[in-house]
Each structure stands twice: as structure tokens, then as C-alpha cells.
């Protein structure tokens, strides 16, 4: 080998070594600081080291209460001990007073269904005031939650330290992310009804009096109904309704594959013939957008009537109806196509058009090497004016939470992020290498929600708890916060 070639090889080895070191330097370590830009930590709760799915923040009188749904326990700790009772309890719902965001106060844990990971717990939670529901107890505050995969439950949480079970709707499969209109009581409950060819479809209920649920109809994509044959359409993930004023329900089907966005006429859905025939299922549909087989539609978040600055001088089309579509990454260490966020212009509802997408640049943190999932999972779903149509907060698993400026949805851009530090309670995530588990520990920001004050709540799937954040710098300016 000539000296010149030797030096080329040494330089190459040096570069390769630097890249490898760069990747390992990105591996999270207990005790290391969080990574942040234009976002900072205000408060934290360990959530009793329970794997967390969905946080919902509800204003009750002068207090702000956080309700956090949990997955089932882990192989290592199937039923964590609740320090408040001293008893092991299957993961369920954590209730915290977050009025003082710097000092969240853990009030109560309601146990969920026994079972590990997605098989147990009580992942989803929505809250409505009895005073707002048409036939509710005016003194009650109702919390709707899933119970494992088999049921939905409604609790009265007027005293969040002492919740009382109101009712359970049982006998289902794979219950998931519901939507509940507090002003009408109409609820779109996600699960699998008997004989349907999917584990996740919609059961529309009138929960205006939560103690007396009234079943309105079952709904899904034609082909999912009982007795159908042939190809089975993608499972539902969750709906979002704009209520009687908007008269639309946006259904997102799929997690990381075969996404379908279905735009439905709410009135026709509620008042149409309820028998689940293909024609009856097709009747309320206004529009549909099929995504690539590589991406799913975990969340379909409507941002209607958005003024677009670039189009301000156009004679028509100055405002656009937009939906933000969030995929869900489900495999560890990038063993799947990238799951990210997409924006579709649905102004012409019968011809929805994808207009843009956004992803965390992988190289910005070597996220495929960090461990766990890397990719989008969910957005905040609060439509409070502080962030709505200005900033979307997106949970991105090992890349933490991302604040995206969506004022021009044709050109979304990141304006802040926060990746929490891991703790000694953060659970490992493994992949198989040569038949053996290779495990790494990384933050797994699962879901995010916001409150009307502008606080951002992120919860961790890998048992690291709930982090309460506030925006700074450019992000704070975009939100219009002082």
C-alpha cells in the first residue's frame, strides 16, 4: 500500500469513527440535560412510572386538572405500586391538579384493566362538564375513558380526588381514541362491535345524559360491516367532530399503513338509516383521501377557514380548509417507512389534495440509532385560541415534542422542540439482532396536549412521566403569548 492510500484509509477510518461516536453521543443517558429549543420545562410528574398514552387537560372551576390515560403494565412491572395506597394497581388513569404548572399535584390513580402494554390499562380519556351536556347532572364533571380493550367507562370526577363510576359499556374489542361533543353529548366511541370485520370502528352514542347512553348507530368503511366479503378496509384510529356548527366528522383510519381520511356529513351520519349496509355506510361520506400504503392516519385534525397570507390578493380561495394528518410510528429503530405529518387542502371536499408534509430531520439527532420509536404519533387536539391554527404540537417519540408553525400550512416549519431527559424509571426498547434482544433506553413522547393558558403537556410511553412545558422565543411570539 502506498503512503497516499494509507493516509486516505486512515482519514476514512477517522471519519467513520467520528460518525459512530456522533451516533453514540446522541444516546440518552440518565442525568443528562434535556434537549430543547424555544421550549422549556416548567413542571414534572413521574405519573408513578406508568406508561402514558393520552393526556387531557380540563378546566374545573378555577382549577386545571390533567387526566392521563395509561397503557397496561410492562413485563418487568405488570402492576406498579400506587404510593398513595401502598397497593399494586393495574395502570389506569392518573388525575393531577396542574393549576400550579410548576408543581403538579398527583390526586388519584383509578386502576384500569389488568393486562400488559396495549392489552390493559385505560389509554384514552375525554372530559365534559355536566353543566354543558344537555341532560347531564349540572354538578357533575364526566370523564369518558377506555377500560382495557373491552369497555368504555364514564366517571363523575367533579371531585377529582374521589371519582365515582357512572356506567360501563362492555363487551367490545380494542377500544381506542374516542371523541365526545360536550355541547350535544354525541360521542363517537372507537372499538370493535360484535361481528364487525375490524377491531376498530365507530359506535355513535348519545351521551347527553351519561348515565343513560343511547346507541345511535354503528359506522365504518363499507367492507367492514358484518357479513361483508372480500378486502377488509383499514381499521379506524379515531374521529374528530366539528359539532353541529361545522357539521363534519373527520375520521382517520390506519396507524402506519394504508391511511384513509374520511370526511363525513355529521347530520347524515346521525340521522341516516342506521343499519350497517354498504349503501347506508356510504351515504354520509362527503369526501375521502387515500394515503400511501406506507403511511397511516392516526389523527386527522381540522383547521378550517384558514386565511393563507400568500393567497390574500387572490380573487377566490383566500381561505382554505385544512386538515393536518398525523401518522403513527409503531416499530423501533426505524424498521418501517418514515411516519410524519401531512397537510391536506380539503376546501373542495370531494377532491382533498395533499399540499405539504414535515418530518424531524433524522440526522439532527441520529434518531434511528437512539432506540425506541422515531416518528410522529399524535398532535394536540385542543382548539383553544392560544395555539389553534398557529402552532401544532406533535409528539415524535424519541425526538420529543415538536412545535410547528402552521400559519402557512403549505410551508410548515419547526419553531421549537423539547426532548425530555430520561430517568432511572425510563423503560428500555428492544429490537432483535441475531436472535437476541438489543435494548436501548430513550424517551418515547407518546402524546401531547395543551391548555388555554399555553402550557404544553407531554407524556411518555416509556414510563418517564408527564412534562409540563412553556414556549419561548419565536414560538412564544407566534402564539401571541407575553
Amino acid at each position: 500500500m502506498t503512503r497516499r492510500w494509507l493516509s486516505v484509509c486512515l482519514v476514512s477510518m477517522g471519519i467513520a469513527g467520528s460518525i459512530a461516536n456522533g451516533a453514540s453521543a446522541q444516546q440518552q443517558k440518565v442525568g443528562a440535560a434535556p434537549e430543547a429549543s424555544n421550549m422549556k420545562l416548567v413542571g414534572w410528574s413521574d405519573l408513578q412510572a406508568r406508561s402514558a398514552y393520552q393526556p387531557t387537560i380540563h378546566k374545573q372551576g378555577s382549577r386545571f386538572i390533567a387526566y392521563v390515560g395509561h397503557h397496561g403494565g410492562t413485563d418487568d412491572v405488570p402492576t406498579p405500586v400506587n404510593p398513595m395506597t401502598g397497593q399494586p394497581e393495574p395502570n389506569g388513569t392518573s388525575i393531577l391538579d396542574v393549576t400550579d404548572a410548576a408543581h403538579p399535584k398527583y390526586l388519584r390513580h383509578i386502576p384500569g384493566a389488568p393486562g400488559k402494554y396495549e392489552d390493559g390499562g385505560a389509554q384514552m380519556v375525554r372530559v365534559c362538564d355536566g353543566a354543558q351536556l344537555p341532560k347531564g347532572d349540572k354538578n357533575a364533571v364526566y370523564m369518558l375513558r377506555t377500560y382495557g380493550g373491552q369497555a368504555h367507562e364514564i366517571w363523575d370526577v367533579a371531585d377529582p380526588s374521589s371519582p365515582k363510576l357512572v356506567i360501563r359499556l362492555d363487551g367490545l374489542r380494542d377500544t381506542h381514541k374516542n371523541w365526545w361533543e360536550c355541547d350535544t353529548g354525541i360521542a363517537y366511541l372507537v372499538g370493535g362491535a360484535k361481528d364487525w370485520r375490524t377491531k376498530r370502528m365507530t359506535q355513535v352514542y348519545d351521551l347527553s345524559d351519561p348515565a343513560k347512553p343511547v346507541h345511535i348507530r354503528d359506522f365504518g368503511l363499507p367492507g367492514q360491516e358484518p357479513g361483508a366479503t372480500g378486502q377488509v378496509p383499514t381499521d379506524l384510529h379515531g374521529p374528530i367532530s366539528t359539532g353541529p356548527q361545522g357539521n363534519r366528522v373527520f375520521f382517520g383510519y390506519g396507524t402506519n399503513k394504508g391511511g384513509v381520511i374520511q370526511i363525513v356529513d355529521r347530520e347524515k351520519l346521525l340521522k341516516g338509516p342506521p343499519e350497517p349496509t354498504p349503501d347506508n355506510l356510504r351515504a354520509p361520506e362527503v369526501g375521502r383521501l387515500l394515503m400511501s400504503a406506507w403511511n397511516g392516519a392516526h389523527t386527522v385534525f381540522p383547521m378550517l377557514q384558514m386565511p393563507i397570507a400568500e393567497f390574500a390578493n387572490d380573487k377566490d380561495g383566500k381561505t382554505r380548509d385544512i386538515v393536518m394528518i398525523v401518522d403513527e410510528a409503531i416499530l423501533n429503530e426505524c424498521n418501517e417507512p418514515r411516519q410524519m405529518i401531512w397537510f391536506a387542502d380539503i376546501s373542495i371536499e370531494t377532491r382533498p389534495t395533499m399540499i405539504s408534509s414535515w418530518t424531524v430531520p433524522e440526522a439532527s439527532g441520529h434518531f434511528c440509532q437512539r432506540g425506541g420509536r422515531f416518528g410522529a404519533h399524535s398532535s394536540n387536539e385542543s382548539m383553544a385560541p392560544v395555539f389553534y391554527k398557529k402552532i401544532a404540537l406533535i409528539a415524535w417519540f424519541n425526538a420529543g415534542v415538536r412545535a410547528i408553525d402552521v400559519r402557512d400550512p403549505y410551508h410548515p416549519k419547526e419553531i421549537g422542540h423539547f426532548i425530555p431527559a430520561i430517568t432511572d424509571k425510563t423503560d428500555k426498547r428492544c429490537v432483535k439482532v441475531d436472535g437476541q434482544d438489543r435494548c436501548k433506553t430513550a424517551i418515547q413522547t407518546n402524546n401531547v396536549e395543551t391548555d388555554e393558558r399555553g402550557y404544553v403537556y407531554i407524556v411518555d410511553r416509556a414510563n418517564t412521566g408527564m412534562h409540563i412545558l412553556e414556549l419561548g422565543g419565536e414560538a412564544r411570539q407566534v402564539a401571541g403569548l407575553k
Binding site: 393486562g115 400488559k116 402494554y117 396495549e118 392489552d119 380493550g149 380494542d174 364487525w196 370485520r197 375490524t198 377491531k199 366479503t229 372480500g230 378486502q231 377488509v232 381499521d235 402506519n256 399503513k257 394504508g258 400504503a293 406506507w294 409503531i330 416499530l331 424498521n335 418501517e336 429490537v431 432483535k432 439482532v433 441475531d434 436472535g435
Partner: protein, 183 residues
């Protein structure tokens, strides 16, 4: 100036080299039958389906029976219970790749392929313009699925069992194990 003879000779030589290179490429690309394939008579055929959400699988044929198999990482609906419902075979076994208007013939039954458990179901499909029978199979390993479709006279237990035994050979299992690790 180059003579016509030289041009012709050069062209012939070039053509020969290109032909040999092409033949060598095809010979190397197309896998030689392994020991299990030779012993059992199953012959590898091309995966005939267009790209979809999952990487392409592998396919074999023998005596009018075809087997299509592939892993689907993270696609099991319930990582704890595995495949327990017929709707999961309908929706996940790739039977729709053969015919998206498939009709189940009867209820599915439990099946075990090596140490992986799941369900199998008999379907009527239309393939190449004629009616055929097919068995859809879905078994799970934690959150991952392995799916297969066997097309042929699978209402005959001996045919279905033979295909199942082939799925348990090293030919299929070694490849599946590597594919389940994302390799």
C-alpha cells in the same frame, strides 16, 4: 481506417460478452434450489404482487399448489393474544392480493407453524379467470405477523398439510427469521 471485417468481429465479440454477462447476472440473481427445495420438490417462483405497505415476500410452487409467504413486522392486532379472530385472517393474510373479492368458505381454525400459533381459513377466489380454493394463514410472534396463502386443492387435508410442512422447512424458516429482524 477500421475495416468492415474488424467492425463485424468486434460487434460479435461485444454481443457475446454482453450475452454471457446477462446470462451470468440472471443465473446469479435467480436463486438455486436449496436442499429442502430439492428434497421436497418445491420450486421458487417470483413474487408476483405489486409493491404495497410491506416488503415483498417469497413464493413457491409444486404440483399445482402455490405458496405465498411473508412477514409483516408490527402488524399483529394484539401482541398478547396473537391471531384469534377470523376477521384478522381476512384482513391481514394477503388473501386479498390474490383476489380482493375473496369469499370465506367456512370458519377458520387454529393452526401452528413451528412454534408460532394463529389461525387458518379456507377461501374461494378467482385467479387467472378461474375459480380456485385458497387457504389464508396468519400466525404471530409477539407483535409481528407471518402470513401465508396456499392456493390449490387445499380442501384436501393432505395438500394443506404438505404446504404447512413446507412452511416449517429451513427454506422458509431461515429466511423468515432474518426478515423478522428487519434484515
Amino acid at each position: 481506417m477500421i475495416s468492415r471485417r474488424t467492425i463485424v468481429q468486434t460487434s460479435l465479440a461485444g454481443g457475446l460478452i454482453a450475452g454471457l454477462a446477462g446470462f451470468s447476472l440472471v443465473a446469479n440473481w435467480w436463486p438455486k434450489p436449496d436442499r429442502d427445495e430439492e428434497a421436497t420438490g418445491w420450486r421458487r417462483i417470483a413474487w408476483p404482487f405489486p409493491r404495497d405497505a410491506f416488503p415483498a415476500g417469497r413464493a413457491w410452487t409444486r404440483d399445482g399448489t402455490e405458496v405465498y409467504v411473508r412477514p409483516k413486522l408490527g402488524f399483529c392486532g394484539n401482541c398478547d393474544t396473537g391471531v384469534v379472530e377470523d376477521s384478522e385472517i381476512d384482513g391481514k393474510s394477503d388473501i386479498d392480493l390474490l383476489d380482493d373479492k375473496f369469499t370465506p368458505v367456512r370458519e377458520g381454525k387454529r393452526i401452528q407453524i413451528t412454534d408460532l400459533a394463529g389461525r387458518a381459513r379456507l377461501y374461494r377466489i378467482k385467479k387467472d379467470g378461474r375459480e380456485r380454493l385458497a387457504q389464508g394463514i396468519a400466525v404471530s410472534l409477539n407483535c409481528d405477523l407471518i402470513v401465508a396463502v396456499v392456493v390449490g386443492k387445499v380442501d384436501d387435508d393432505a395438500v394443506a398439510r404438505a404446504a404447512q410442512r413446507f412452511l416449517e422447512t429451513n427454506t422458509v424458516q431461515v429466511w423468515l427469521n432474518a426478515a423478522l429482524e428487519g434484515k
